[in-house]
């Protein structure tokens, strides 16, 4: 409160300032005119005295300009109307001049002051428009109801310089004060305020100070409504002096704007929830399907083969035994792949995956990938084409190898024996592209995006085992590196999967290689 008093005090001082300036101005003008005064005739001098009048009308308004006019007449009379240095007037015709002067001064002052008033008004309107605009822009950026309401409360209270309360229906559809302006003074908490807020909410009309309903209540209640429904109530404290019509319009506009924003956030929250439910439903089904099939099948073969071996020790030939043992191993390996993929997905989704950024040598990485897939290449040939000089790029080599092993394994899995898989690495501009091309059955156009979805299995994958997690993990890893992974049909037959990663150049000290060679 002290700051308010100080402001008032300062304002009072400021209000006296124009009169002091006018007095000084008129005195100075009189001195100047008096020095050269006899060169002019009286009419010109009278005109000169209109200057302070106009000036104060434009800058300080009506009353100071009248003061300037009076001061002008007195100075004119005293210094320039004979007898000089006296207020008495020799020639009575000068009285007429005074009257004309005063009339002209009054008229111009009024005009100038009105102009000033209009400028002030339009500035205010502009400020209101700006406030509305900034509120609407802020609201468009907020995606959560609570933050949105707090934002509105803050913005409105700053714009209209008053305390604000916002009422919204709670979980039990009871209206409650959910947001308020910062530095809350408990405005809008009382029972009577609640009653008016309820009335406003139910009727969707303004109530309180200056309206038809409860016009004497120290607060204005504005419904937050769109055309369809009312979302809440905005209350503005307005006890001393009713709010101007301008402010009421502004508040109404704020109300509409806020209601639209609330409606938007509510709708998007509902949509998000619905999408989330559907997605989690889909994933749950897929996970159950996948786990029950992918885990049970190999488990069944492992248990079956093992019990067979134990129970019928003497019935099997050594070839049969070997066959059963290979089945056990393959079943276990398949389960291991599933578990690894599920763990990978969990790591990826829980954000546990920490990227280690290091320089990756494409040639080295492909060497590791080849040694990892060696086991199931079968009769297929793998050709490697690496651009010279070998591209280096920043990334986590272990994770990126996992990506490539997955992609190359897929290429092998979906292409026939005797065909060729081509791995190519090339750098173009700021991207390093690693592509894996096969001669397989290819991917339908509608599946090219979806194969990177979790648990998605293409229609062509019947008969091949897998969980549909591998490529989803690849996508997660590649995107964590700021890269992209895409699938496209190969010109002749098959598919090309391309991993594009941001390139870079490892920093090496100047001439490190040359020094080495010279030492030889």
């Amino acid at each position: 409160m002290r700051s308010v008093e100080a402001t008032v005090e300062r304002r009072k001082k400021l209000a006296l300032l124009p009169y002091a300036w006018i007095t000084i101005g008129v005195a100075a003008l009189s001195v100047v005119l008096h020095e050269f005064g006899f060169a002019f005739d009286a009419v010109n001098i009278a005109l000169m005295y209109l200057f302070p009048v106009l000036f104060s009308a434009v800058y300080w308004g009506l009353v100071p300009s009248f003061y300037a006019a009076a001061a002008g007449v007195l100075a004119f009379d005293y210094f320039f109307v004979p007898p000089f240095l006296s207020f008495s007037v020799e020639d009575l015709r000068y009285l007429l001049s005074f009257a004309v002067y005063l009339a002209v001064a009054a008229l111009t002052a009024t005009l100038a002051a009105r102009l000033k008033q209009q400028v002030k008004l339009s500035k205010e309107r502009e400020a209101h428009t700006a406030a509305l605009y900034s509120l609407s822009r802020q609201m468009a950026a907020v995606g959560e109801i609570k933050t949105l309401l707090e934002n509105i409360a803050l913005q409105v209270s700053v714009t209209v310089q008053a305390q604000i309360a916002i009422y919204m229906p709670d979980a039990r559809s009871e209206l409650a004060r959910t947001a308020y302006s910062p530095g809350d003074h408990g405005f809008g908490e009382g029972e009577s305020a609640m009653v008016i807020a309820k009335w406003t909410f139910e009727h969707g009309r303004m109530a309180g100070r200056g309206t038809e309903t409860l016009g004497e209540f120290p607060g204005l209640f504005v419904p937050l409504r769109t055309e369809e429904r009312t979302y809440g109530v905005l209350a503005v404290r307005a006890d001393a002096g009713a709010l101007s019509a301008e402010s009421r319009h502004l508040l109404e506009a704020f109300g509409g704007l806020a209601a639209t924003a609330i409606a938007r956030v509510k709708l998007s929250e509902e949509a998000k929830l619905a999408q989330l439910t559907a997605e989690s439903e889909r994933i749950r089904t897929a996970l159950l399907d996948s786990v029950s099939h992918e885990l049970r099948t190999p488990l069944a073969t492992v248990i079956g083969s093992a019990t067979g071996l134990i129970d019928g020790e003497d019935v099997f030939s050594s070839d049969d035994r070997r066959e059963l043992l290979v089945t056990i191993r393959d079943g276990a390996l398949r389960m291991n792949r599933l578990v690894t993929n599920l763990l990978g997905m969990v790591k990826l989704e829980s954000g546990m995956l920490a990227l280690r950024r290091d320089w990756v040598d494409a040639e080295d990485m492909i060497g590791v990938v080849l040694s990892q897939v060696r086991g199931f290449v079968g009769e297929r040939r793998i050709e490697v084409r690496i651009q010279e000089p070998t591209p280096y790029f920043p990334g986590d080599e272990v994770l990126l190898e996992q990506v490539l092993v997955n992609v190359v394994s897929n290429a092998i899995k979906y292409s026939p024996d005797g065909s060729e898989v081509v791995i190519a690495v090339r750098q173009s501009g700021s991207w390093v592209r690693i592509s894996v091309a096969d001669n397989g059955i290819g991917i339908g156009e509608e599946d090219r995006e979806r194969i990177f979805d979790k648990f998605y299995r293409g229609p062509g994958s019947n008969g091949t085992t897998g969980t549909g997690l591998g490529l989803a993990i690849c996508k997660g890893i590649v995107e964590a590196h700021g890269g992209t992974i895409t699938a496209a049909p190969r010109a002749e037959r098959g598919t090309v999967v391309t991993v594009a990663l941001p390139a870079g150049k490892p920093e090496l000290p100047e001439g490190w290689q040359r020094e080495e060679e010279e030492q030889q």
Binding site: D361, D364, L370, Y392
Partner: protein, 235 residues
């Protein structure tokens, strides 16, 4: 192969299933097997029974596998192969830097484990350095600092030669990036210098390998380091 039979192997693992599996298989390969269920027991048995090699699980109930490793390394150079279900590179690197000779991750192929055990045993057998190392087509003469491939001299820069020397004299073992940096560049290296390593290894491969993407001499252990392949390991 006959030289390793009869070697005594201490298995330190808290899982009875794994111990049983190892015991049965290693016995079938004519190794003597000792078992320890806890880390403390493992350290105790290592000190009184003088095993020729230790297979050590990292996740033990009483003290961590790393502690066991460090405590044994205080007084012994017995080859230790770490057997771990932890698949984070950091754990493997810590174990290798801490003095382990090799690591095998669970689930593991028995054949691979047995092969690693053989390599480690052989390595400990001839720890004294030969002046000339021979790996199939590749001959490294440590006394003359000469490298020959198929009988022709290969020109290597000093750093490339040092790198090859460190890797080849530890053939069959994983050498971590840190160990390599320390041994080749000495004390004044930086963790971020690993990309020099990559580039030098790339150069070495270009000079030694027929196809650098299918290396037969220097194999990359992703995220961990490099291994110079004994020729029976190269396929």
């Amino acid at each position: 192969m006959t030289t390793e039979t009869g070697a005594r192997i201490l298995v330190v693992d808290d899982e009875p299933q794994i111990r049983k599996l190892l015991k049965v298989t290693l016995k079938a390969h004519h190794f003597d097997v000792l078992e320890a269920e806890t880390g403390e027991d493992g350290i105790y048995q290592a000190s009184i029974n003088h095993p020729d090699l230790i297979v050590l699980d990292l996740g033990l109930p009483d003290v961590s596998g790393m502690t066991v490793l460090n405590r044994i390394r205080e007084w012994s150079r017995i080859p230790i192969i770490v057997l771990t279900a932890k698949d984070r590179e950091a754990d493997k690197i810590e174990a290798l830097d801490g003095g382990a000779d090799d690591y095998v991750t669970k689930p593991f192929g028995m054949g691979e484990l047995v092969a690693r055990i053989r390599v480690a045993l052989r390595h400990s057998g001839n720890a004294q350095q030969e002046p000339v190392l021979r790996f199939g087509r590749l001959v490294i003469d440590l006394a003359q600092r000469l490298v020959e491939l198929d009988g022709t001299r290969v020109k290597l820069t000093p750093t490339e030669y040092e790198l090859l020397k460190v890797l080849a004299s530890n053939a069959g073992k994983v050498i971590t990036q840190r160990q390599l940096l320390q041994q080749v560049w000495g004390g004044h290296h930086h963790e971020s210098d690993t990309h020099y390593l990559r580039i030098y290894i790339g150069h070495l491969r270009k000079k030694l390998e027929e196809d650098p993407t299918r290396p037969t001499f220097i194999e990359t252990e992703p995220g961990i380091g490099y291994r110079f392949l004994l020729q029976e390991q190269a396929k």
